[in-house]
Point group: D2
Chain length 338, copies 4
């Protein structure tokens, strides 16, 4: 491996393409090859980003000129590709979730258990400058002991109904980011989960696919630290991503930020600001950038990623606990589902 | 009754004295008489506020020169005094809670059931200009249908341990305000409650008295509107009282306000503001003022109070549901305890 | 003089009546007598506030039961009444300005020169909690040496045209508060003034009465501290009253505050706040209250007021300098007009 | 010219290098060649950014493979290079100022008068999303007629003293950006200028080089629109860049923004934010990016730049007027110096 990490990209959809651009702009990484199940998509991406197009994923795993892979394909392929990459000794950055089925995730875990090849899961929000500064301030003792954590996470608009139908459900698809954020901030594993979920935005669709669009999940760690996750599939005022930490000596808030700082004052109102960034590509632009850098760093330095396979697995375990709580209307011990 | 409502005050402790001053400053009310179990307290209050001191509460109920009573005595006397006042046909403004024992509250309800004498419960926060404007904006349709409600309610500091020991517990003493706020905003009755409570601030005291200092309570209405109440007995940065409404067409937040608007900028930070108002007397000054005015209005206009006896009772029912959820670690239907 | 300062009020117009209410609510003061050129006004005020109505101002000056006077009459009577009060050994709180004519002010100064009777000028903004905290932080060294001062002072709406015609002009009527604020904060006397004034809001009226509705005045102290005053007779978003201090080690801002802290978020904007307080009675409510208390304190303690006669005079001198700068289009040394 | 504008860069200092990176990242531009008076600097830049290194500026002007030039060399070379570029029919994006000497600027103007080759001046702030949205809201009529404009522009820290000595003075070096911003927003030319300048930060240096570090400049247009520019060479809390517009129907503020949105709350303060972006490269990152895009657009579409040569010249004229006002202590008509 030279000065620059040569990355093979699997999956040239929206998120894959975003990663492709970041990989080429980042001084530590370079896009070497791309693959997509759709040949024209990989060809397009290859042309735009100056990489070779592969007709099969195995060409990437087999290519000695490729140092690492980024998996941004459909969810059901993630576990297979992680296993192939690890078998080929290629460090992996895999988009979340590892799989929608915990059994499959556990199997994958067992299969790669003997390897030390770095596997990083794409929980991009851990790299958001605001959330990260919030956690750093906590770790630095600025607010003393954490007592309560509030995570507000609301998407600007419903995904397409076809996506909803195969998403795995709101907890495995959307809340999974917040479960990871909770684990990132709490400093201890949640041991109990209670979930509340409703169909308030598109009841017809949600009924049909058996999913929910509005949820509140409370969790608790062994020492009694409390967490509430607040989810909505729609927030018309923009992508709402907040973290609030109540500590014994103070409070920290990682708030939303507007694209620029215009304030409007009129006879009817003052200090009105712009709507929030529309969605994750804009809101977490710096986070995605830092995520690629962190991946390059861990591969190049021979260290393990900050967000590893087990982090991806544990977030899914919490999602399972939430579903069990929902169906049995009770507090669920995380151990019950793990 | 003349142009001004002549009020008899029962209880000359801190909160009673605050009411006494408001009653005399308010153009629609006048303090006529005061009573306290401690004679010197009533004498002092009478002197300071130009009212007559009564040696027994019955003197107030029997006095034809007194149009209405304000009950600010110890909690265990509230129900008795409400019954006496109603029997004497004196409209009542009674500090919360009606009683710590739901059975006693229900008995009181039955005893005054045949009367139309106005009984207002002192849920002062309903009269806070910010919270009220928030609800009004919701009712005016500014944010469409309510989907989620977040109530953050944190006291600046622990009450004295003697108070804690007789407070009735955090849900009946502190959260009860938030249960009422939830009912005020939600527009529908909560039908399910789940509670989480811990001993994070003063575990020794809390263990000894069997209480909790940190809590999260989630609730749901029949149509699926969700609510989270977030309580802490300590917030070192001041009395933290926020309400957030997520609606189908927008969001409303009733935020904290600092005593004045100084912003400090230095090499290490920008826009730092003053700590929040220290506690309820300062934070809810305008609310207490408006509460007295609303009471005077309903008595003078012969209407029923905005916050009546049943509101006081239902908030206690929610507290009972929260306790049951806590002990049985499950979602509790409000009907189970009512 | 007893425990409470008995105050005689001259002038029962809007501002006089506001003072009357404060005087009676304040624990240190009591309204003893009122006078107004309009008998019915004084009678009304006397009835409402429980004071005696006087048919002539001299009755107040001559009354030994009156400890001090508050002058809130028409501007042209201020100097006369100050002289009468001082002659009668009655401490004075006089609304600004002392007089619109500097020569008359100087004469008044000479006439009361030998007296030590306290004369406080009604620059209420000095008592605003935010502005005062701003100055205190400066004096405490929080931002090091002051380098630049920005005062933004905009009224919500034009005064009635009859008022404008006799106001003495924008600098003597409106900016005079800001000249005083500048002196209060700068810590040194301004020695140079340059003024810019235009007729942008109601050019027809301003032309007719020879006044201006929009102005910027820059000033400088001997050591080079700079100040800009920014005035407008109209700000549709409310009474805009800000102070900003740039120091060697930081910045301080005394910002506007909304009546309550509702934030509105919608598809087109976020965090929109209420319009600012409409005008001085609301915005400076706490300042007027503190002003009365400070007056009572200085009289009772035998000290001199924080805002004395010379402060009133010097603010007018700056107004004169501003007018000279305007007519000669040059930097004016304050000495030229004093 | 193909799909991409091939740009030759003159000057590989800090700002040149920043442009080089932007040019290569921007989809519409590509760095073709670089030149610097220091051969190693141009070689370095050429290596890093994949361009050819030129030993002489003329190689760039003569190269038919180069579509346009970006001038980021020392100020005294700007006018010469503009003339060379125009003579070679190469569109120019030239860093501000055109020259420190108005006579030289006028000569340059005359020399290129017959050409229609686009000459864009690097007033990057015009492309700042916040400032631009502020102006767009004004142009859209959101706040009615502009009456007052406040520009606050403070650098985080003093430049090196060697730079100060050759900067041309604060008005030509620093305020020139604000003169341009004033012209951009006011919608009319300033016709009168008054300047105030002091030596408060580093008096010894400022005395030695005959410059100032702290300034306030007020200006007025023919219809009476007022503007204040507020400059300081040091603001310890970060790069402070604000624009405020008072209009007949409202107010607009383009405020500073922090790098992320962490809020700190403690016993001594609430809502404390991060310091502002340190300096122009960070604060105006998006502006520099948009500037390159706008340049590419105007060249490719055959239109004239939004910020042309005359804009560069007029900002300097205002600087000259400010200097004259400073020395003669009077209001200066802009015509006097143009």
């Amino acid at each position: 491996m030279g000065d620059v990490l040569r990355i093979g990209l699997l999956g040239c959809g929206r998120i894959g393409i975003m990663h492709a651009a970041n990989i080429n702009m980042h001084p530590k990484t370079k896009l070497a090859a791309v693959y997509d199940i759709d040949d024209s998509a990989s060809k397009n991406a290859a042309d735009t980003h100056g990489a070779i197009a592969c007709g099969h994923a195995d060409e990437i795993f087999a290519n000695p000129e490729i140092d690492a892979v980024l998996i941004a394909t459909a969810t059901e392929t993630h576990a297979d590709y992680i296993e192939s990459a690890v078998a080929a000794c290629k460090p992996v950055l895999c988009e979340k979730p590892i799989d929608l089925d915990l059994a499959r995730v556990n199997l994958c875990r067992d299969r790669i258990a003997d390897s030390t090849v770095p596997v990083q899961i794409g929980f991009n929000r851990r790299f958001d400058p605001g959330h990260r500064a919030c956690r750093n301030a906590l770790l630095a003792g600025e607010v003393g002991e954490l007592r309560q954590l509030i995570i507000i996470s609301r998407d600007p608009a419903m995904p397409p109904s076809e996506y909803c139908a195969v998403s795995g459900g709101i907890f495995r698809d959307m809340t999974i980011h917040d479960f990871d954020m909770a684990r990132f901030i709490l400093g201890e594993e949640p041991v109990e989960v209670v979930a509340l979920a409703n169909r308030l935005i598109d009841p017809e669709l949600m009924n049909r696919i058996g999913d929910y669009d509005t949820a509140m999940i409370t969790m608790r760690t062994a020492t009694g630290r409390q967490c509430i996750i607040n989810n909505s599939r729609v927030a018309v005022y923009g992508y709402d991503q907040r973290v609030e930490i109540l500590g014994s000596d103070g409070m920290l808030q990682s708030e939303n930020q507007t694209p620029h700082a215009l304030r409007r004052h009129s006879a009817s109102q003052t200090a009105a600001q712009e709507p929030y960034q529309n969605f994750f590509v804009e809101r977490y632009r710096e986070a995605y950038w830092a995520e690629i850098g962190a991946f390059a760093d861990c591969v190049m330095n021979g260290t393990q990623p900050e967000v590893g396979f087990e982090d991806g697995r544990r977030a899914l375990v919490l999602a399972e606990a939430a579903y069990l709580s929902l169906s049995e209307k009770r507090v669920v011990a995380v151990d019950e589902v793990d």
